[in-house]
Symmetry: C2
Subunit: 418 residues, 2 copies
């Protein structure tokens, strides 16, 4: 069968299964998720053997060692994967929640009910644990899922997906709720993006190139998980100790993530008191600091931040620093160079805190807290599907609720339209 | 300047203006909307003169008389347009609403704030009042709007848009918040759909062909407003009087709308008591009834419903009728032939009512009420942007809230990530 027809058939089966899954009782889904976790752990040797094939192929292909590291599974990682599924299993079920039920003048009750989106297609790169994470979130939220992982992880992903499917069906889920695309042919991505009769939402998790391609080619709605050029603005009234701890955390706690700080903006009134100590703490932590001309007047030893620095997501221990003359200049810099991901202000000025929260356009805006906290678990949503940088449906961490939509429901007793 | 560059420039200006609009106080938007309504009324003669040009051109082109009728403005219609804007003006402002603010274990408050989506592109067909309606909804919800109306209404739309812009700017809105595409070149639609750096959401309001083209060509997220193949299922336990009144309303109150009933499903146990009287009431109201074989056994005089009838949106005084053997057959028919728009059950059985609400997949599901009630005003949302048949962001009537998205906001006092 041709690739296109094969994918259409697979997606159609998942669509049909998703309609059954949408009607499954919460306890069936919980039981299935726990069974999946158990089976991953009890079949760890099988997963590790399949993972070994990927690792051998990766080494033979000369994959860089950080990629090999991301690809590598061991018993601890498999247990973490299983624990992640169990964490999702115990979250409140979002499906069927009735919200905003009000009584209208004509006596009918109107409100909304959360329902699954349908079938979600996830296109992701090399870490095999993503296969288990996203499948668990989709099942819990009542969605069918079509997984297209990276070719380097194909054997690991197949092993994991097969176990999830097996455990799910045994526990009472309809078959085909979880579908892994088993070909590594890149053309499969383009074909999937055409199947808008079967797939309701595409979530690309990967680099800028992948996201751009998906947005351009897809007939299906896409939730972007794009890069983060995140700022922290230390206002004139900031508490110095708070500013130091929060900025250090935002930059160094895990620099390779999208919610790590890339640019530090400092009010000129506090720069002399704040920057020398802050920069030396960054340097102690191994951060390369690049400054604007005014920063370099204060700290002549540091290197120059060039125009390109303000638009770069370093994802590394590098930080650009700019001194601004006033609050509005900070807002304007963020509006010009930010990527609407995670933005923070450190201030004791209430009016500035409220203006920052109101006016800054980002998936999450922080007052006196680290941008690294832009995360589903930190926000109390439980596990997440990543951080959406789209401007519709959901911004920020996508938890279970963001994997549902709300239909209107009406309880009447004969109401008609005049 | 080339069309593409001209449109990019216009869209870029609207994007910039939308950032200012997002920060406008609610009272500025309210004042602007009221000023727009006043100016439309005081400049009615100008609008009518421009409308006359469209009507003459339409007649010269041989437009069908229903289209001419839709295109025609008069003082009453202009007043209604103005009243529509004033109705939007007094609705609660959705922007800035803070929701779900909770305190996390580490002491930070986390919640969400409703913010405008950005710039919304609306592609619509001939009725010129849509220009005023959608511009008002976008301004109230803090969004810039790019309007692309039908070519038959170009002079009317230009006149209306110019007055809205003029009144808005005088009342303190940034210029370029409302942009009307002044060319009637169809290529402009395709160019707009590429401008994802400036336009955040596309809403096509028109026929199936338009919607399909937009979904296929757009790089920008699209909210579909698709056709309605809507059912009413009269269950075995239905109250006969309720069933009659609701079904009659759903079919005849305004048959040309997307939420009108197209197929009536009747439980076999109630069919003999219900159908003869119901069908004669439909026939008195001028409805052509087409029945399945079992319906025709009961009522030999009516014509045959063929397979194609179950999938047709008549938008007219035609109705297909099917007798089903049990509740699940009704659900299965709706799942197979429905378009997920508006679906109703008439029943006195609580378990059936709850199963129908839970299991039927539609933008709105009704128990003992007419599908014609699937409407923003009826649901208490105020005016609406149409009825979304998309499966993400918003399903059903899109009121002001559906024209916003929610960003996360955090109030902390030094929280960092461990």
């Amino acid at each position: 069968m041709e690739l296109k027809d094969h994918l259409r058939q697979q997606a159609g089966r998942t669509k049909a299964a998703s309609k059954e899954l949408a009607r499954c009782l919460p306890e069936v889904k919980t039981r299935a998720l726990n069974a999946m976790a158990d089976l991953l752990e009890s079949q760890a040797s099988f997963i590790l053997a399949e993972n070994e094939k990927d690792l051998e192929a990766g080494k033979a292909k000369g994959l860089a060692s950080p990629l090999i590291e991301r690809l590598t599974l061991n018993r601890k990682r498999i247990s973490e994967m299983a624990m992640g599924i169990r964490d999702v299993a115990v979250l409140p079920d979002p499906v069927g929640e009735m919200i905003k039920m009000v009584r209208r003048p004509n006596g009918m009750w109107v409100g909304q009910m959360r329902v699954p989106i349908g079938v979600i297609g996830i296109i992701y790169e090399s870490r095999p644990n993503v296969t288990a994470d996203v499948a668990a979130l989709c099942v819990k939220s009542g969605n069918g899922v079509i997984l297209r992982g990276g070719s380097e992880a194909i054997c690991s992903n197949q092993a994991i997906a097969r176990l999830l499917q097996e455990a799910g069906v045994k526990a009472g889920l309809p078959p085909h709720v979880i579908t892994l695309i088993e070909t590594t042919d890149r053309q499969a991505i383009f074909e999937l993006l055409q199947l808008d009769e079967a797939i309701d939402l595409i979530i690309p998790r990967g680099g800028e190139g992948l996201i751009r391609t998906v947005v351009e080619q897809s007939k299906i709605p896409v939730m972007k998980h794009d890069k983060g050029i995140c700022h922290t603005f230390v206002d004139e009234s900031a508490d110095l100790k708070t500013a130091e701890e929060v900025c250090l955390n935002a930059k160094v706690q895990r620099p390779a993530t999208c919610n790590a700080m890339e640019t530090l903006l400092v009010h000129q009134g506090i720069a002399p008191a704040f920057l020398p100590k802050m920069v030396s703490r960054f340097q102690e932590a191994g951060v390369e600091v690049r400054g604007c001309p005014r920063t370099r007047e204060l700290l002549p030893g540091i290197s120059i931040a060039r125009e390109g620095d303000w638009t770069t997501e370093y994802l590394d221990l590098i930080l650009s620093v700019k001194i601004v003359s006033h609050f509005d200049e900070a807002l304007s810099h963020i509006s010009t160079y930010g990527s609407c991901h995670s933005e923070a202000i450190i201030t004791r000025d209430h009016a500035h805190a409220m203006r920052f929260v109101n006016e800054v356009d980002a998936s999450a805006v922080f007052v006196n807290a680290s941008t690294r906290l832009n995360d589903g678990c930190q926000f109390g949503l439980g596990a997440e599907m990543g951080i959406s940088t789209s401007r519709i449906h959901a911004r920020g961490p996508m938890g279970l609720e963001a994997l549902t939509c709300a239909k209107f429901i009406v309880f009447g007793d004969g109401q008609v339209r005049d």
